[in-house]
């Protein structure tokens, strides 16, 4: 179906849903939805101020959810949002430091920066920003973001129509691209599966078995190692008594301090 037709028929609901989805961290093209909505406004299919209101409301709602999740889930949520990063812990700390250094006004421009847009609200929650202050800055950010893309759509309606016509012509090429992407994804999953199977060769021990060994004279040969990469955010966090922590993302360096004379028992959450 034509994007403009879709926007003219279900524009408000579509704009609200896509923006809310993006604000809660899902990979949806919210900016494209806003541009299309702007074009629909230019074609008198939608009423501009109402679209803006719907867009800002959706963004604020999603960001507020993220803010409170960030406040109460801390590392867990941030780790999930950073999961595509090679080093999730570094991703979290770098984002936090960058946010802290640039100040709270980062919230106003965050939505324009891929990656930062998803992290900004939960980081603000995790970093104990006051809620009303967050809401004020986030409202400004949402307003600037939605207005900008709506204006782009409004001003470039004819150009967008031409681009969409181009997409229809290039439909077959797109199908080929999608099929290729699916094949690549399937290969990636197979590689991951094989890698996972390889990890199964590491011997696994039950808690009771280890506890019995710790209670025996053999205990001195045991080293229990906590390999959680995050989860240390909340004060009062616990670990197995007598265990030490090594950072899995810094394993090369950590290995220098480990003894080969001991049996190493690894655990995470």
């Amino acid at each position: 179906m034509d994007l403009f037709l879709l926007m003219a028929r279900h524009g408000y609901a579509l704009t609200f849903s896509l923006l809310l989805a993006e604000a809660v961290g899902l990979p949806f093209p919210a900016a494209i939805a806003l541009v299309a909505a702007g074009a629909a406004v230019a074609a008198h299919g939608l009423w501009g101020p109402y679209v803006l209101l719907v867009a800002v409301t959706a963004l604020l709602l999603g960001d507020t959810v993220q803010f409170w999740l960030g406040r109460y889930m801390g590392w867990l949520l941030l780790g999930f949002l950073c999961r595509v990063s090679i080093n999730p812990e570094t991703c979290i700390l770098r984002s936090a430091e960058s946010f802290y250094k640039r100040g709270k006004v980062t919230l106003i421009i965050a939505k324009f920066i891929p990656g930062v847009n998803t992290m900004a609200a939960p980081l603000a929650g995790s970093m104990k920003m006051r809620f009303w202050q967050f809401l004020r800055l986030d409202f400004l950010g949402a307003l600037v973001y939605a207005s900008t893309y709506l204006a782009i759509g409004f001003l470039s309606r004819d150009f967008l129509k031409a681009v969409l016509r181009g997409f229809h012509v290039a439909g077959r090429a797109m199908e080929a691209v999608i099929i290729s992407a699916l094949v690549v994804y399937a290969i990636y999953r197979i590689v991951q599966y094989r890698k996972y199977r390889m990890y199964r060769v590491v011997p696994r021990v039950q808690v009771q078995e280890l506890a019995a060994r710790l209670a025996s004279e053999d205990a001195a040969k045991v080293l229990i190692v906590d390999v959680r990469s995050h989860g240390y955010y909340d004060s009062g966090a616990a670990r197995i008594k007598g265990s030490i922590r090594i950072e899995p993302n810094n394993l090369e360096e950590e290995l220098k301090h480990l003894s080969k004379d001991k049996d190493i028992y690894l655990y995470c959450t």
Binding site: L93, Y233, L266
Partner: protein
């Protein structure tokens, strides 16, 4: 990687959750090991 480097390594089935469920002793993570985010407050 640990095994590749010659370390004799095992994995505890169920991790910390299973350890706790079995009633085995835990301790607080030392302050030095905590990695905290900067805060605005």
């Amino acid at each position: 990687m640990l095994r590749e480097k010659g370390f004799h390594t095992f994995v505890i089935v169920g991790g910390l959750t299973a350890w706790r469920k079995a009633g085995e002793p835990v301790e607080s993570v030392p302050e030095n090991d905590l990695v905290k985010l900067p805060t605005f407050s």
